[in-house]
Subunit: 483 residues, 2 copies
């Protein structure tokens, strides 16, 4: 990267200054074994690892602002980091420099019940939000699959999708306001406890999914909803993958019912997760399954919805349907769904986790195309994910006997073929994981040069020195990508 | 404005070139009586009027792109215009130059039922979208009060709110994709028929509410929903304004029911609209009323909701409640609500229509504050609007016997007092009408300098020459505002 050479290194004077800002216990710099855990996210393997020069763990907005002012003055790259549960290398300090870890900024600041709003710091673990809200009969609709570990700040930075998005939409719909530290170290309030606001450009929505490249969130105002009082899951088994996936886009359009979730898992994904979790599901002989969730304020309403949707699945090829209408059965099924990524991570480090998104009705064609490509290149591409909103997670997995070179070269060819297909059908590179470092070189296969140039222009407008999370989302114009 | 002097004028050569782009019948330049109707929007009075030098009415994206390339080359300001139904001066060519009227770009391009998406041109009248969709049992959830005349392109440019936003949210939630002509005349596709997409910054959402200052929309992809099969309205009469408005933020938090609409009207607003429309409502003796709408797929579900909400209103001071459960009664009530702005427009041209937005629970305090200010300054400030989402339309109306100077001076003082109050309670200048030319000088009373500087930086990133809809949203840094 041409710009990297212009960054300054973290000197002992800088360490001193960072220590005076955050306190000595919260600056990590000379312990490689501690720094190492800040060098990667959840992408397996070594391709997307890079060591920070120093990690700081600020407690307050003022400390974050002071760090950014220092970094801006000295032109040192800064990478903000949540729980490190990302899947696109977004929190990896690819140019070294400072990592700002937000784990100490983990307070729930204010529950404002009359305004159905919750103000939190970025380091709060996502699941803890709903644990806190339960007694108030309220809930936050975000449900990323990594909710047990991920931070809400990371969810905002990536505009996380997750399991509830078919009915509730993604993170962006529930973020009303942000306190942001800019790359220059200014503190800016955006939005607020407001359900509508057109006072200038929509800065809050621009920040959503900006992957830590435009500003660092230090407070987040979330919109809450009344906690649904009823819920049920349907596990629908299909004889083969085509029959299952063909049903997905039609459930809503043909029944008029909007499930909370429509998750798809092919047989390999289910088997691998069950094996990893030492679980069993009655799925040995099925080719694919759909997991449908329904929720609402009334039990009867939820029952009517899942019965109608179940009948639709049955009429369209489902061979067996199981109802999970109590929390423990429901959690057992969802745990398997959530366990798929980790099951693949431990299986092989030579793989590429893709996060394709297409118009919902194009899901069947897309899964067929992935299977064709897998067969043509002799790799495995198991598929699972949030099929109801057009988002398929496809894992491209290297056969054990390939050389690294064969794998690297073939993977590039496969990705270009997939992304070129995506462009043809109006799809995009990522539905919820982000572009980060992992996918930025492939942006040009899916969006136009003019689109990328607008992204660059926005980045320059916020961060003219290019110090905040450099090397993410897009390549610089003068960068040679080699693809 | 310092930059205005740097713009070039529209010469006869430019007119020739525009004519060769759009055709002779679609370039208006030497007929002042025709140009005049492009000099204003729906703000009454003369304060926010400004004549264009030329109006062009392109038919295609390519024509819009050619016009922008020409304007960019010659540095001529361009103001895009929908139906001219705006309320913030957004479509007014304050620096002269070219107005691009989008009225000929009025095709519904594609209904994609499997993807629940509709692709339209910007000049389609908003209500025509739902007229078109009805036979397909689908609907577009946007419901601006000016739906009979406004264009969908204007709704996108202003991120229109409207009557359905309590349940369905604002325009932004239903815009999935845009084709945009940039200030440089490039054509850029953003988003698509995708329910989630994190492929780069959220350009679609940045465009939503950008008031025609960042790009011109030439195609819009809307998200559709299944058409609700049942609907009912409740008209709840209250003895006084305080009792009515106190109920608003509590309807949802205390009953758990989310109405489609929670509209508030004080007695003066209702009386004036009834008088203007030659209508009568049984409201002579009431102090204020709430209009609640409920919709859903099942009649029974809607009935249960409106009965519960009605009981809540009754228990909290409503004296009379009327149910409108058929389309003609419902339309009669809503026509009165929609007629309020025009009723005030014809009453006086010396007025200021405000579009305040506050956290929903702050609505009662805000209405009380407006009444206090009205009394202190001896003006009328009738209030009405989308109280359920914290959005109050307040009309500050000049007493007939005041001089123009007294009115202008007092209005400034009142606005600064209101906006300073808004900042204190976490409110903002506009919930749905936009900042435009009307409110830009007041931005500094509600948001920080750093916030405004970010808006300017985004504008410069998209439009370095400042040719697209200049003079809107914010003042330039070197502009003397006089406030």
């Amino acid at each position: 990267m041409s710009k990297t050479t212009q960054y300054r290194r973290v000197t002992s004077d800088i360490i001193c200054e960072l220590t005076s800002i955050c306190g000595a216990g919260y600056v990590i710099h000379d312990q490689p074994e501690k720094l190492e855990s800040y060098s990667h996210d959840e992408i397996p393997g070594k391709a997307y690892r890079s060591m920070p020069e120093v990690v700081v763990r600020p407690r307050t907005t003022a400390e974050v602002a002071a760090i950014m002012k220092l970094a801006n003055r000295e032109r040192i790259p800064v990478t903000p980091r949540g729980a490190g549960s990302g899947l696109s290398g977004g929190a990896v300090p690819v140019s070294g420099g400072i990592v700002i870890a937000t784990d100490r900024m983990n307070s729930i600041i204010e529950l404002d019940k009359p305004n159905l709003a919750l103000v939190v710091e970025p380091g709060v673990i996502t699941n803890e939000i709903n644990e806190f809200l339960r007694e108030h009969k309220l809930f936050y609709a975000g449900y990323p699959m990594s909710g047990e570990t991920c931070f809400i700040g990371g969810n905002v930075a990536e505009n996380a999708g997750g399991g509830n998005a078919v009915k509730y939409g993604v993170t962006a719909r529930y973020v009303l306001g942000l306190e942001v530290v800019t790359p220059q170290g200014d503190i800016v309030e955006m939005g607020g406890k407001l359900l509508k606001d057109v006072t200038g450009y929509n800065l809050v929505q621009l920040m959503l999914g900006s992957e830590g490249t435009l500003g660092i969130f230090t407070k987040i105002t979330l919109r809450l909803l009344p906690l649904p009082q009823a819920r049920a899951d349907l596990l629908c088994l299909f004889p083969d993958i085509n029959t299952a996936i063909d049903v997905v886009p039609r459930i809503m359009t043909e029944t008029g019912i909007t499930p909370t979730s429509i998750e798809f898992m092919d047989s390999d994904s289910v088997a691998r997760a069950c094996n990893y979790l030492n679980e069993s599901l009655p799925v040995e002989s099925c080719g694919a399954m759909l997991l449908l969730t329904f929720d609402g304020m009334e039990q009867q309403q939820v029952e009517e919805a899942y019965i109608a949707a179940g009948k639709f699945c049955e009429a369209n090829g489902a061979t067996e349907i199981y109802v999970a209408d109590n929390p423990s059965t429901s959690e057992r099924v969802w745990r398997i769904r959530r366990g798929i990524p980790e099951a693949y991570n431990v299986y092989s480090s030579r793989q590429s986790g893709e996060d394709l998104v297409v118009p919902p009705a194009v899901i069947p064609r897309t899964v067929a195309e992935l299977k064709r490509i897998a067969s043509a290149y002799k790799v495995m591409i198991p598929c699972y994910g949030h099929a109801g909103d057009g988002n398929i997670h496809a894992r491209i997995i290297c056969p054990p006997d390939w050389t690294d070179t064969r794998w690297t070269d073939t993977l590039k060819t496969i990705l270009i073929e997939i992304y070129t297909y995506l462009r043809e059908v109006g799809g995009r590179l990522s539905g919820e994981h982000g572009i980060g470092h992992k996918r930025r070189k492939y942006m040009k296969y899916v969006v136009s040069d003019e689109y990328i140039e607008l992204l660059r222009a926005i980045k320059r407008a916020f961060d003219p020195l290019g110090i905040l999370n450099p090397g993410k989302i897009f390549e610089e114009k003068d960068e040679a990508s080699g693809l």
